[in-house]
Symmetry: C2
Subunit: 350 residues, 2 copies
Amino acid sequence: MTTIKDVARVADVSISTVSALLNGTARVSDKLAQRIWAAIESTGYSPHGPARSLRLGRTRSIALVVGDISNPFFTSLAKTVEARAVEAGYMVIVANSDEEPEKELKLLEMLREQRVAGILLTPSGHDPSYLQALARITDIPLVLLDRMLPQSAFDSVVVDNLAMARMATDYLVRLNHRRIALVIGKQHIWTMEQRLHGYREGLRLAGIAADPTLELVADTRIETAYEVVQRLLTQPNPPTAIFAANILMMLGAIEAVMDMGFRCPEQVSLAGIDDFPGSSAIRPLLTTVTQPIEELAERAVRRLLEKIDEDPASPRKTNPQTITLMPRLLIRDSCSRRIVPPQSGGSISR
Amino acid sequence: MTTIKDVARVADVSISTVSALLNGTARVSDKLAQRIWAAIESTGYSPHGPARSLRLGRTRSIALVVGDISNPFFTSLAKTVEARAVEAGYMVIVANSDEEPEKELKLLEMLREQRVAGILLTPSGHDPSYLQALARITDIPLVLLDRMLPQSAFDSVVVDNLAMARMATDYLVRLNHRRIALVIGKQHIWTMEQRLHGYREGLRLAGIAADPTLELVADTRIETAYEVVQRLLTQPNPPTAIFAANILMMLGAIEAVMDMGFRCPEQVSLAGIDDFPGSSAIRPLLTTVTQPIEELAERAVRRLLEKIDEDPASPRKTNPQTITLMPRLLIRDSCSRRIVPPQSGGSISR
DNA sequence: CTGAAAGCGCTAACAA
DNA sequence: TTGTTAGCGCTTTCAG
């Protein structure tokens, strides 16, 4: 492997001249610059990143740690993060925590060893020991993405998840639905917790009593959502609407509905969260609450880069900052107005 | 930032003892080990990766460069690659080339500077200047993934793409289709070129003359596929079957078919390539040729790790190796037997 | 403008 | 078993 020394020798200049040219640290005469570039070309020289990192005490990579990169939501996030980071001269290390706090912590430790310049994290844990472990790595700029950790003081960029669920529930209520089922993920994840609350709040505001049998807990995957919804639909008095609290669970739900022979939206209305490439090939077109994913990613990267740049100067002077973005209800074809039973004609609470 | 020196001082041992303990290079007495671990804990020490890399001349990250991480095919690939790499103690740097050779080359240069231990690449270029630029970075172990570069001598792990298209075409032919349209991506990408040939070969073997108006060139995205298929279907004498040569184009095609009011598979049969999370929510269920994505990723990672380990020892002695995996036809509901025009008596229904 | 040299944190060879 | 030290490739004073 050729080094800066070799280049200097071949170009017949000193090491520091090559370095100056490469870093724009000082002006180098055109003639020498010429010779140096030629030498770099002929030797196939490439600056040694780790050596540079060691010397400079910083690195040009940032990390993105998500729960499941195959979840289209995270994929979109990753794509934008990568694009913005590369624009800013950083490479992106992507890591999967599989939603397992322990694996996540291990990854973070590896990332810390690599001295990544900063970390974007969708935290998978929540309990005190997790929080404490997280705190250990705060010597590296960290921004939480998509999920916050309410008890702690990290910068975060999130969407108002409570509003998301409230909007969806509210919409279904306005379509006259009263028995609205929820398919939700495990609640220790902030987004899921918020969505559960948003759903309940939506019902409460409509004066509808919560029915625990309509709150189905899946685990954020298609398969489990399929199972719980299938089971629900075999019960007597099935709901007239289902709200699935993430995209994968939405997919499981709609499959179950179709497989059980229910027509959507005529018999069961379905509302969900987020879009994904290909969702437009599903009929009926899904009514969803969508998050501004690109903006989420952009804000997070921007905030992280800010922290990276400010960190050395003013040590954690600034208060942790939370940026909350608003979702949008995208009305399409998977929800329809519930026809109230013949006789009474009224639609007052039940 | 605390260093190994600090740890040594706090634990009151020498630097090399700490290093020996950390690397398992030599046995350290239990008592000292105890003290050292305590010191590491109390100082929050984390080994300095770049320094280590500099010293050892190697790094613990590998790179995965794909054309578009939001393409579910690449996402699946990335997921498995990440998992296997982490198992082997490597982090994965994911980068998007956006299918632009120039951007890709720039990324590869950055990766080379970082001295990643190896690179997994789905090459986006093909012309001589690209190949030449690629050759410049071959001091880093490189394995091509999903696509090969026939003119060059790189290790590659691919699926038999020609067979993929032949299988799909053949299947449609067996269902009695004669006018089979193809939606294909730009041909300078190996996979697309192979699929085009496979399609043509499938027709040829069936004694069907190729019809250039049925070969629709999109650019691997949903939107363009939608457009070209929509245009096709407004023509007189539309095809009775469409084969879309990747998953995104398949999605665009099925949307166009539905939006134009054609029923699938009754009026138009559709065959595609690959699955994705959520494809099972699309009706009809898509008949596709699926690639063994996990195996593809696993083989590629394995080969890359081999190269990483062998490289220093026996320099490129071994011939470039190409691993070709076989696809599988997954028959579901989007293709049906074509009913031959009235008079002749028709074929057997299925 | 250019050259010599220190030192970033770490590992490993060698000495004790 | 433990301690001392050279040097990985680079940037950056500091002198010429």
